[in-house]
């Protein structure tokens, strides 16, 4: 068994409105910053033991599809590091 650390990034699909990010962008502009766009993402860090990188990736992907992301609104990516 090897310990892996996985990072799952969940972001809204292109075209899905993000009112919180818009509000945050406006707040930055109110502070005098100039910026073209701002989006927010959720990031999860997971540690797990697995036989192989593939099986670790498979499990983390399943966790993401079952709970961490909502396929109606979200795209996600999974990156893995061996610890």
């Amino acid at each position: 068994m090897t310990t892996y650390s996985a990072t799952v990034t969940v972001r809204l699909k292109q075209g899905v409105l993000d009112p919180e990010a818009q509000t945050t962008k406006q707040a930055l502009e109110r502070l005098g910053f100039e910026l073209d766009s701002l989006s927010s993402v959720d990031q999860f860090e997971i540690e797990l033991d697995a036989e192989s990188e593939n099986s670790a990736r498979e499990r983390v992907t399943e966790m993401t599809e079952r709970l961490l992301a909502n396929p109606t609104m979200h795209d996600y990516e999974v990156t893995l590091d061996q610890r």
């Binding site: 899905v16 409105l17 993000d18 009112p19 919180e20 818009q22 509000t23 079952r66 709970l67 961490l68 909502n70 109606t72 609104m73």
Partner: protein, 226 residues
């Protein structure tokens, strides 16, 4: 027969729902989600509230409760199942109904009375209204914006599965009358069977004459038809 109103940690419209059903002489009882459904259950309400503190996404945690599998079985028997507000979010998160309810366009919690236009009066939930009727229900949510992929939305509308849309006092579907930025002003939909429905507005808070409008009673009467 009884209607099970399922309580999760953080549900807060559960007792209101039982009271509203009682007022219509519909037998209802509170059921803690870990206790499973009573054997004689003839309908289910997933009530409003803030189950699991809205962690991750509103409804996401409750949707993983094992009782949702039992709820699915009940829906397959054709018995009425209604998700209200947080219950609607749970319904979408558990795929009883399509789409998702997410952060209001205003990024604020909105608590107000809204006008709804009845879009389909041929469902158990709307048979007490006429198509095109304008009714008044309260809303109270921060995550009520209905999101769905455009092609799924087209299907949903083609299949006549929209129950209510947010409208103005005259029944016009406008952006101004859309309190949360929902796609096509959608406030409530049915599942694949029309015995399953979810809606963000609160029919149970519009069911007792003492507290104002009783427009919501007809939605709850679906439970008397079984």
């Amino acid at each position: 027969m009884t209607v099970a109103v399922i309580q999760f940690g953080g549900s807060n419209c559960d007792r209101d729902t039982v009271r509203a059903l009682d007022a219509l002489d519909i037998d209802a009882e509170l059921v803690w989600h870990e206790d499973g459904l009573p054997a004689d259950v003839d309908g289910i309400v997933l009530p409003g509230g803030f189950s699991y503190g809205d962690y991750l996404r509103a409804g996401a945690m409750a949707a993983q409760s094992p009782i949702l599998e039992d709820v699915r079985t009940v829906t397959e028997e054709g018995k009425p199942v209604l998700g209200i507000c947080n219950g609607a979010q749970i319904g979408c998160e558990s795929s009883l109904t399509p789409g998702a309810f997410t952060v209001n366009k205003s990024a604020r919690f909105q608590c107000e009375h809204v006008h709804l236009r009845v879009e389909n009066a041929e469902t158990p939930w709307t048979s007490g209204y006429n198509k095109g009727d304008v009714v008044t229900f309260p809303i109270a949510h921060g995550e009520g914006r209905f999101e769905i992929a455009d092609e799924r939305l087209e299907e949903l509308e083609a299949e006549n599965r929209v129950l209510f849309r947010y409208c103005d006092a005259n029944g016009n579907i406008t952006d101004e009358a859309n309190p949360n930025g929902s796609k096509h002003n959608i406030a409530g939909i049915t599942g694949e069977r029309d015995s399953v429905a979810v809606m963000m507005p609160h029919p149970e808070r519009a069911s007792l004459a003492d507290i104002g409008t009783t427009d919501g009673q007809d939605v709850l009467r679906a439970f008397a038809q079984t």
